[in-house]
Amino acid sequence: MITILAYTGYFVLLLNLILFSTQFFKETKAYKIFTIYLALSCIIQVWAEILILQKSSNLFLSHFYFIGQFILLSGFYKQILKQDGMQNKIVTACFVVVLLILGVQFASDNTLFFRFNLLEIVITSIVLVVLASFHFYNLLNEKKEFYYVNIGILVYLLGSTILFLVGNLMTSLSAEFNKIPWVLNSFMYLLYQIIILIDWKRRFSYNEIKSEL
């Protein structure tokens, strides 16, 4: 059950990556950054699978995942939020502050590398949720660009953050139960990727209509 869900999620992720890549050079900077984000997710998933096959711990990849996701999605939002004004300054400020905090934290405690870093999960997710709500705010009276992607990011982040927060707890659960949170996570990830797929499809069909006019 869990493997089917997880692999379907990965499959849609790969599909998204391929689809987004086909339009890579024709599209905006934000689109490019998002494609890179999808590529990063793909690489980390594959890497994690390889590490599982080698029977070694892949937990340290979570740091690459969270920080990479944070950096790329911040860049993504920096592009799609209003270029001049408060919002963009907040994006830059959050970006610098979060990376500083995490840098100091990792420098002071090396053992953090091999378990879930709760502070890292919380601050990166919260900042991204704030940025996503900025975008929703802007979408109230504007053209709905990256509407579905934004919904996906918001929903997946809200759900997965809680799951990752209790991640350290799960390693101490009995084998019978410790898979359940990951089933949930796989399910949410699949949903997330499907929403991204919908956005790509809408974007593409919209472009088609535009070129017909």
């Binding site: 502070l119 919260i126 949720v129 929703f136 705010y137 009276n141 927060l165 209790v166 707890l169």
Partner: protein, 263 residues
């Protein structure tokens, strides 16, 4: 491994982080809601302001037209009637002068009769212009037909009128607006558009009456037009609004004018 083997401080850490996360996300949600509401209300206010602005403009247009119309009527009365009655009055005084020969009396009375006749004619014309009697007695269709004939008789323009519907005399108050709209459109076509042919079709669809008006005049640039509507056009708009109808105007330079409206 059992859950209780996990260090207590780690569990506390997880609980605190979860709690803080939920609170922060809640705050984000509330702030988002607060600012969105503010934004929506602001947009609505802007919309209302625009509406008020538009209504003010319409009102100004109405007042201006009213004054213009008064001026025209005053001029008509002055030029066509007062001047003639003046001469009539002078001539009547002349009749009082003693020792007039019979020929002179006859001459003066002829002038008086002639001029009163003309004044009468003119006053009828003015009244007719203000409100065509045909419209009141025989309804919109007859009114428009007469209007078309009047325009056609000037030889400068040919008006084709097709009516595929009928008009109830009871609704004449509304029809007067339609009549005025058409009058204004034709005036514009002739005066500004230099049109030589005008087509007008009145139709009925789903209980609503539609008018299709086209001319072959010089037309105008619609983008410029939107910004500087004349008094007449504003008047037409307010009349259509009054009739709960819609007006669609389409034109381009050297493309004539197409107007669709319903009422």
């Amino acid at each position: 491994m059992k859950p209780n083997t996990l260090a207590e401080n780690e569990i506390i850490e997880i609980i605190i982080y979860s709690c803080v996360t939920f609170i922060l996300m809640g705050i984000v949600l509330v702030l988002f809601f607060y600012f969105s509401r503010k934004k929506i209300i602001q947009k609505e206010l802007e919309k209302k302001d625009l509406e008020i602005q538009y209504q003010k403009e319409l009102l100004t247009a109405v007042i201006l037209t009213q004054e213009e119309e008064r001026k025209r009527i005053a001029q008509d009365l002055h030029d066509d009637i007062s001047s003639k009655l003046n001469i009539v009055s002078l001539n009547s005084h002349l009749l009082n002068t003693p020792k007039l020969s019979e020929l002179q009396v006859k001459e003066i009375t002829t002038t008086i009769i002639d001029l009163t006749g003309k004044a009468l004619d003119n006053s009828r014309k003015i009244a007719h212009n203000l409100l065509p009697p045909v419209l009141e007695k025989f309804g919109l269709q007859a009114g428009i037909e007469e209007l078309c004939e009047e325009f056609s008789s000037s030889k400068a323009v040919k008006v084709n009128f097709t009516c595929n519907t009928s008009f109830d005399l009871a609704e004449n108050d509304r029809h007067l607006h339609v009549f005025r709209i058409l009058q204004e459109l034709m005036n514009n076509s002739l005066r500004h558009g230099k049109a030589t042919e005008i087509n007008l079709v009145l139709d009925e669809k789903n209980g609503k009456k539609h008018g299709f008006y086209t001319d072959n005049g010089v037309g105008f640039d619609q983008k410029i037009f939107e910004n500087q509507k004349g008094l007449g056009m504003k008047n037409i708009e307010s009349r259509v609004t009054f009739l709960n109808g819609n007006l669609k105007l389409q034109s381009g330079i050297n493309e004539g004018v197409k107007v669709n409206f319903n009422f």
